[in-house]
């Protein structure tokens, strides 16, 4: 290839190797989940937050744990319940008798990777405390803003079937999650390997960090630098416009969704070791990005609508 076309923002080979090793390691724990794991990494590199929607027991928490360990990030987990209060997440100012002043006691949110388990079990007030932090990258307590550590990556889970006593996230809040994925049951082969293989928790304990916070920040920078040509931007715009004009869709994709789509497609290209984005990258992440953002006009499955959009919008 000509010199002109060579890489501008290719991940330097060391970081690149570590990224591949990290993905491989998570793949070892979660057998046969290559695609969702790549999605999770794309979400991380694109600087978004991840919503995992699935029935219990398919490995949502294992995924979060494996990611935290592999990425070398500080990890906290919050089990959301209906009596959880915002301060239980963010932290609280307590009076320090020694200094005679209020001292801020950091909540679990001050972590680099936060697992918000069963996010839909908490009240909307508590949910919004978390979502605000996700959007701003900081929390404000007693008038003082406190920056969250970088990188800050939230993996939230919810169970789509067991809806009793839950507060489903409103559409506006769903928009704050860049990607929504589901893990699904493993296929027969993966299930057998799961049954015969080592205990997952033992594997998790043995795992070593493959990346670090600074690595991730570098990779994020590199993802942002991946080329998106005019032709690709045309395609992204066409998809977003089509979602707004589709007769079966009441509310289409927001500009934020368009940005997320582009960022995620770039990250996907980076994962594919490419420094330019292809329509295939956009297509790969589109359903995960648009599925939870499209509001259907009729009683239609959102993922089906996203799929339909993908099948009708022309690619150059």
């Amino acid at each position: 290839m000509d010199q002109n076309f060579t890489v501008a923002a290719k991940a330097d080979s060391l970081t690149r190797q570590r990224l591949d090793a990290a993905i491989a390691q998570v793949n070892e724990v979660l057998v046969g989940k290559n695609q969702p794991i790549r999605m999770a990494f794309a979400c991380l590199l694109a600087g978004g937050h991840l919503l995992v929607e699935d029935v219990p027991g398919v490995g949502k928490t294992t995924l979060a744990h494996a990611l935290a360990t592999t990425l070398g990030l500080s990890f906290r987990r919050i089990q959301f319940t209906s009596d959880l209060l915002p301060t239980d997440i963010v932290g609280v100012s307590v009076f320090d008798r020694d200094s005679g002043a209020f001292r801020f006691q950091q909540g679990p949110i001050f972590a680099q990777l936060l697992l918000a388990d069963e996010i839909n079990r908490a009240t909307p007030k508590t949910q919004s405390a978390l979502l605000e932090a996700m959007a701003e990258g900081q929390v404000t307590v007693d008038g003082a803003s406190r920056a969250l550590p970088e990188p800050f990556f939230v993996v939230a889970t919810q169970n789509p079937l067991d809806m009793a006593g839950t507060y489903p996230l409103p559409d506006s809040q769903l928009d704050r999650f860049m990607l929504r994925i589901s893990l699904d049951y493993p296929d027969a082969d993966a299930e057998r390997r799961l049954l015969t293989g080592e205990d997952r928790s033992a594997m998790l304990e043995r795992m070593a960090a493959r990346l670090s916070g600074p690595d991730i920040m570098t990779l994020r920078r590199q993802a942002r630098a991946v080329t998106a040509s005019p032709a690709l931007l045309d395609y992204v715009q066409a998809l977003v416009t089509a979602s707004r004009k589709h007769p079966d869709i009441r509310t289409g994709l927001s500009p934020r969704a368009g940005l997320a789509l582009l960022a995620c497609a770039r990250a996907w290209a980076l994962l594919g070791d490419r420094n330019y984005t292809l329509p295939e990258d956009v297509q790969a992440v589109f359903v995960a990005i648009a599925g939870h953002r499209l509001i259907p006009a009729r009683n239609l499955a959102r993922d089906t609508l996203a799929q339909a959009l993908l099948e009708t919008v022309a690619v150059e």
């Binding site: 690709l232 295939e280 919008v313 022309a314």
Partner: protein, 663 residues
């Protein structure tokens, strides 16, 4: 999380027949059956439609095959059934019924796209053959529209088109149908044709509607409720007044107590009766639709016979051949006339007085009383009879009750309900019983005068029967006893009873009459476009009679011009304009690949498309990989594709000639 499935254009080697084309094929076959249904037995059509429906259902439920035994059994049963119904496998109707049956059976073995294509071709041919039975404009349009599902099937069978589904299939079908019209018109005008139309092939003598040469009470009923067009007449000058629009068909001389028939008298070679003419003659052109009988109709009374026809002594016209095609002829008639006013040939007088013995004593008695009262005044007896119909509580009603053995007595004294043939029959009987020579005339009366297109439209429902009596000094005089009846019961049978001057017409009849202009134009211009008219086609260019060669040359020129015009239109059309040289080159590449069956889906990503092409064309894999990398980098890794590399890519595409046949 499943990886999003990106639609791909090609579905690889064509294996099974997909549900959509199969459903469309079934619809096509049903259309064919519907087009032929008018001449096939109802049960036969129903069974065939049921076979199609059952096959559709069977294939929908599971992709099983129909057992060979069943197919063979049906293959034998279809011709057997046709022979059982028609008595022969030959001829128009049996032939059409057999091919319809075979088409339905063909569906049972259609499992591959190839079968479906053959079935569509077969269906189109059979559909066209439906025009051998009926060439009316509406039917022709319907048959044309029935090509839509056939074309849609072909479109749905096409592998690897980006869009699929009902709508694109029918849309393409409609576009194809519309685009074929100019070519069809050229072919119609310029392909040298036979001197006789194909549909002149004789039928099988199946029962036809139209007049018969027998008139018994109730016989005309089916005719009077039939709105089919019988003939159209264009007059040279003004049309005759409404009360003179009697069109003479045949004269019935002989009564057997129940029915009137022409009888032996009509066939005797009597000397012709000259017509005494007072007014200027009325000249007119008649277009008589096929009746499959010999007689021709003329305004009362024609003065001489047109070509290829003879005039009987009772002034009826008949053709030497059965009228199996639309017949045009020109006649002159006298509306104010005298027929044999001085003297009636004794043989004719005898025939015109003959009555069967032992029937209708009541009518005989009544006639005797009139004769006694009137003495020698025949005209008074005629007046008495008309007065009886006018004042005797007689009712005009198409729904006449059946009559017993003494039909005239039963009608005159008992039921008093009937239509033209009852009145004509009873009146003629009374006249003969009173010793006045009389005969029944059958023909049409009235009609719809189309002032816009200047012609008279006669429908079968305008059929009529009236009487003629011979009065000394006045000759044969037309008497219409039906006109004397004052009470009319309107039948709910469409436009029946031209009989009484249009007393009974439904609301849409006037519209039908007006729209008949279109049918007339269609019949004259399109159906009637024969070798002769074709020969006159080039008259504006100074060619008196065009030969087949000239037509061929004309056709070639016209086809050339049409294609050129089409190409011009296509080039003017703003189709997907490629955004730059790179896109142009890529389109060329995609076009070349599409020609060998690798079609890119609308929403298929470029890299996916290239990998699919590489997999499909192992021989060209390395070239395709190079092209793929170049294109993807030029298009997606640069803001602006560098011209140098773009040209190199375009060159490589030009030199790339993929060859591959899909297995």
């Amino acid at each position: 999380m499943k990886a999003p499935r990106i639609p791909t254009g090609t579905h690889g080697p064509a294996s099974g027949l997909a549900p959509l084309p199969f459903t469309l094929l079934c619809a096509t076959v049903l259309c064919v059956l519907a087009a032929h249904a008018p001449h096939m037995p109802v049960w036969y059509t129903t069974v065939l439609a049921a076979i199609v429906a059952a096959r559709w259902w069977q294939r929908r439920r599971q992709r099983g095959r129909v057992s060979a035994w069943l197919r063979v059994a049906l293959l034998v049963a279809v011709p057997a059934a046709v022979v059982a119904v028609y008595g022969t496998p030959f001829g128009r109707e049996p032939g059409a019924a057999i091919v319809c049956g075979l088409l339905a059976v063909k569906l049972l073995e259609s499992e591959r796209p190839r079968d479906a294509r053959m079935a569509v071709g077969f269906a189109c041919f059979i559909l066209m053959s439906a025009l051998l039975f009926d060439q009316a404009l509406a039917f022709t349009i319907i048959v044309g529209l029935m090509l839509l599902p056939a074309l849609a099937t072909l479109r749905a069978l096409e592998p690897g088109l980006p869009e699929s589904g009902w709508l694109p299939a029918f849309r393409t079908g409609a576009v194809l149908l519309g685009a074929s019209l100019p070519a069809a018109l050229l072919g119609f005008l310029l392909i040298p044709r036979l001197a006789t139309p194909l549909w002149g092939a004789p039928g099988n003598g199946v029962a036809r509607t139209g007049m018969t040469d027998r008139m018994a009470p109730g016989d005309l009923h089916s005719l009077l409720t039939d709105n089919a067009v019988a003939m159209r007449i264009g007059f040279d000058g003004a049309p005759p007044p409404e009360n003179q629009r009697y069109f003479r068909g045949m004269v019935l001389w002989s009564f057997d107590g129940r029915a009137w028939v022409p009888g032996a008298a009509a066939r005797r070679p009597w000397p012709p009766v000259p017509v005494g003419v007072h007014d200027p003659l009325t000249h007119y052109d008649v277009t008589l639709l096929p009746s499959h009988r010999h007689w021709m109709f003329a305004l009362d009374v024609p003065v001489d016979a047109p070509e290829d026809a003879v005039m009987g002594p009772d002034h009826t016209l008949s053709s030497s051949k059965p009228i199996d095609q639309t017949l045009h002829y020109r006649v002159a008639s006298a509306t104010d006339y005298q027929l044999a006013p001085e003297r009636l040939d004794p043989r004719i007088r005898a025939a015109a007085l003959e009555l069967p013995a032992g029937f209708d004593p009541g009518a005989h008695a009544l006639a005797e009383r009139w004769r006694t009262a009137a003495g020698g005044d025949d005209a008074a007896i005629v007046r008495d009879a008309l007065a009886l119909f006018r004042d005797g509580d007689f009712v005009y009603d198409l729904d006449a009750p059946p009559l017993d053995r003494n039909s005239v007595d039963d009608f005159l004294f008992n039921t008093k309900t009937g239509f033209c043939e009852h009145y004509a029959s009873a009146f003629t009987f009374l006249m003969r019983a009173a010793g006045i020579p009389a005969r029944v005339v059958v023909g049409y009366q009235g009609g719809y005068w189309n002032a816009f297109a200047h012609y008279l439209l006669i429908r079968q429902s305008d059929a009529h029967a009236w009487s003629e009596v011979w009065l000394a000094g006045r000759g044969w005089v037309r008497v219409d006893p039906t006109a004397a009846v004052s009470r009319i019961i309107l039948a709910d049978t469409g436009g029946a009873a031209g009989d009484v001057g249009g007393g009974n017409r439904s609301w849409w009849m006037p519209w039908q009459n007006r729209l008949d202009v279109i049918n007339r134009w269609w019949g004259q211009t399109v159906v009637g476009f024969d070798a002769l008219s074709q020969g006159r086609l080039f008259r504006p260019f100074g060619v008196e009679h065009a030969t087949a060669q000239m037509l061929g040359i004309g056709l070639a020129i016209a086809v050339f011009l049409t294609l050129g015009f089409g190409a011009l239109l296509a080039s003017l059309r703003p189709h997907h304009k490629p955004r730059d040289a790179l896109a142009t080159a890529q389109q060329r590449l995609q076009h070349r690949l599409a020609r060998i069956g690798i079609v890119r889906g609308t929403a298929e990503g470029p890299r996916d498309f290239f990998s699919r092409s590489v997999a499909a064309l192992p021989d060209s894999a390395s070239t395709l990989r190079t092209l793929s990398t170049e294109y993807l980098v030029l298009r997606y890794a640069c803001a602006e594709p560098p011209p140098e590399q773009t040209r190199a890519f375009a060159r490589r595409v030009r030199n790339f000639h993929p060859r591959h046949v899909l297995k």
